[in-house]
């Protein structure tokens, strides 16, 4: 049997989803962004929603997500993605709308947009990549940076007296009546990738079913700015990040409806 005999459509066990473009990703080797993009793209293809999905790229390392996902996309100003998603979903309710945001984008400069989109229970999906740092700008402190963790703007380690505590924003968002699904996932091991993909699918389905805002947080690393190898980063993430940001579902209930709240 030759190689050519084996390369046949019926023998195909895995292929690149058509929702990913052929553009070469700019992410550092080992970075989680690429894996998360791939999972989102695969779910979009499997659910058959490529034509009606509108994505929003943030300002952060994933600003060029629009070059990799073969769907209509908008690039938001830093932190404003949930405001964009709100308008798109309100103006075109038959569309599936998601944002893709980093921890600086979502939990620092865009906190207000995030909380209020969730509070209105917008039927959108928020994908939240928490790598504990500002990756794009060269590794400065993020609101999610762990206590004692060294970054370019806290070179001696995050001092909580000066800068407060790592913000578990997903825990905050789960308390908001408009959110329906808040989950923390990771993509550093096969089993986690499988679980993360299920979470992505569930989030999209919630949005289609009008259940409210879904947030999928991916606890991630930034090996470049953490100044570690990808393997070291994964180990450090498991030991330290997961301790502060434990994986699992934080909330899974449809948003409250007006008539329920008012007992009409």
């Amino acid at each position: 049997m030759t190689k050519q005999d084996i390369i046949k459509p019926e023998n195909l066990v895995y292929g690149k989803t058509k929702v990913l473009t052929d553009n070469i990703m700019h992410y550092c080797p080992g970075c989680s962004h690429g894996v998360i993009h791939k999972l989102i793209a695969e779910v979009i293809e499997e659910m058959g929603i490529q034509e009606k999905t509108i994505g929003i790229a943030p300002v952060g390392c994933s600003v060029f997500a629009y070059n990799y996902l073969d769907i209509d996309m908008q690039e938001a100003a830093h932190g404003r993605a949930p405001a964009l998603a709100t308008a798109i979903k309100r103006l075109m309710p038959d569309k599936v709308v998601f944002t893709y945001q980093g921890d600086g984008d979502l939990a620092a400069i865009g906190t207000a947009e995030t909380i209020h989109a969730c509070n209105r229970g917008e039927n959108i999906v928020i994908f939240f990549v928490n790598n504990g740092i500002y990756g794009m700008t060269g590794g400065q402190m993020a609101p999610t940076t762990l206590e004692g963790m060294k970054t370019a703007t806290c070179p001696y380690g995050r001092n909580t007296d000066m800068y407060g505590f790592p913000l578990r924003i997903s825990d905050l968002l789960k308390e908001i009546d408009g959110t329906c699904y808040v989950t923390r996932q990771s993509v550093h091991k096969t089993a986690n990738i499988v679980r993360a993909k299920k979470a992505i699918r569930k989030a999209f389905q919630n949005s289609i079913d009008g259940k409210g805002t879904s947030i999928v947080e991916f606890v991630s690393h930034c090996n470049t700015n953490w100044k570690m190898t990808p393997v070291q980063s994964n180990a450090w993430m498991e030991e330290h990040m997961f301790a502060k940001y434990p994986l699992g579902d934080l909330k899974d209930t449809p948003k409250k409806r007006f008539d329920e709240i008012n007992h009409l």
């Binding site: 209509d72 964009l84 308008a87 103006l91």
Partner: protein, 358 residues
């Protein structure tokens, strides 16, 4: 049959928005323009036309909702007053850069800072010279009547979509709050999704039978960015060539010219009556578009009049553009009041006499 109504400028704007086939309004309350969203909420256009009306958590959020809606090819708008419009500047810069059509209303109040809720025209620089970062221009329309608060909605959208550019209606607390007779425009249906796609093939309406559409203002390579800058500048030159609008009032035999926009122009018309009663031949040039500015018209006037007087509710902002146009060939004076005080016709005439006629 014509529908003649008596209403505030802000209310007329809201009614005209619904009638123009607007798809979405996104705003945040601030005096003296809150009646815009209040009127829209009362009208409940979502039941009649399907127009979305949403109170955002801030002006920052509202302008970014406008960015996204415009990026979908929708007819969207926001309104605010000076402090709120300052917050919108980042978003406006992104909208201009991504070349998105939309309508923004600023019902100006006095600043700087929290300032006063009384009328002002002190956001002229912000409106016509950029406001946000980078080299860009909005098309700026200056209404001076309640009727124009209604009429400029359609005109604004026409220009916004023609040039894929944000249009600002620069009004003030006088025009927004005063009641006048207004003929509301007839109802236009909202465009269907098919019409939106046909008019805006670049919009993010869903990747159906075409390559994916991307709305972005990012260009990391300098050559690409400079090409974008050059394209924008060429568009602004085209707008300057084609879209200058102004009103001439008693200029045919005028020896002196008041240059004024918005409510100041109304005062100047009164001042012209007083002046002519004294035998002084004065007229008014009222720029309707502040960008593009009626530079050529002023240059033409400069060849035949003795002097200009810019009357503004500011410390003197538009006067700089009048001086640039006149280019030293004739005297240019300025008189303004600030803090929410409206200059009187008597003051305007007195300023003309002391500064220019002498």
């Amino acid at each position: 049959m014509e529908e003649i109504k008596l209403m505030k400028g802000n209310e007329a704007f809201a009614h005209a928005a619904v009638r123009s086939g607007c798809d979405g309004y996104f705003g945040y309350p601030i005096t003296p323009q809150s009646e815009v969203m209040e009127t829209l909420q009362e009208l409940k256009p979502w039941e009649e036309t399907g127009m979305v009306v949403l109170q955002a958590e801030s002006e920052v959020s509202a302008i970014n909702m406008v960015y996204a809606g415009a990026a979908c090819g929708k007819k969207v708008m926001t309104s605010s007053s000076s402090p709120g419009v300052s917050l919108k500047q980042e978003g406006i810069s992104y909208i201009a850069a991504a070349e998105l059509p939309c309508l923004i209303l600023n019902v100006m109040r006095g600043g700087p800072g929290l300032g006063t809720i009384q009328p002002s025209q002190a956001d002229y620089f912000q409106s016509v010279k950029g406001g946000g970062h980078g080299d860009y221009h909005m098309i700026v329309l200056a209404p001076s009547t309640v009727q124009e608060m209604a009429d400029f909605v359609d005109l604004g959208y026409e220009l916004a979509f023609k040039y894929r550019n944000p249009v600002l209606m620069l009004s003030d607390g006088v025009i927004g709050q005063m009641m006048e007779k207004v003929v509301l425009p007839p109802y236009k249906p909202r465009r269907t999704m098919e019409e939106v796609i046909a008019q805006c093939p670049w919009a993010t309406t869903g990747k159906v039978g075409r390559p994916h559409n991307i709305i972005t203002s990012l260009a990391l390579e300098s050559e690409v960015m400079e090409a974008t800058n050059n394209r924008l500048q060429a568009k602004y030159r085209e707008i300057e060539e084609n879209e200058v609008r102004f009103e001439e009032y008693m200029l045919d035999d005028a020896e002196y010219v008041f240059v004024a926009f918005g409510s100041s122009a109304r005062i100047c018309k009164q001042a012209v009556e007083y002046a002519r009663a004294e035998g002084i031949k004065v007229g008014v040039l009222r720029p309707i578009t502040l960008f593009p500015f009626p530079t050529k018209k002023i240059q033409e006037l400069a060849t035949r009049v003795k002097g200009f007087m810019s009357i503004e509710m500011s410390a003197g902002q538009m006067v700089e553009d009048v001086r640039l146009a006149v280019n030293g060939t004739k005297p240019v004076g300025f008189y303004g009041r600030q803090g929410g005080i409206i200059p009187s016709a008597e003051e305007a005439l007195e300023a003309l006499k002391t500064q220019i006629i002498k």
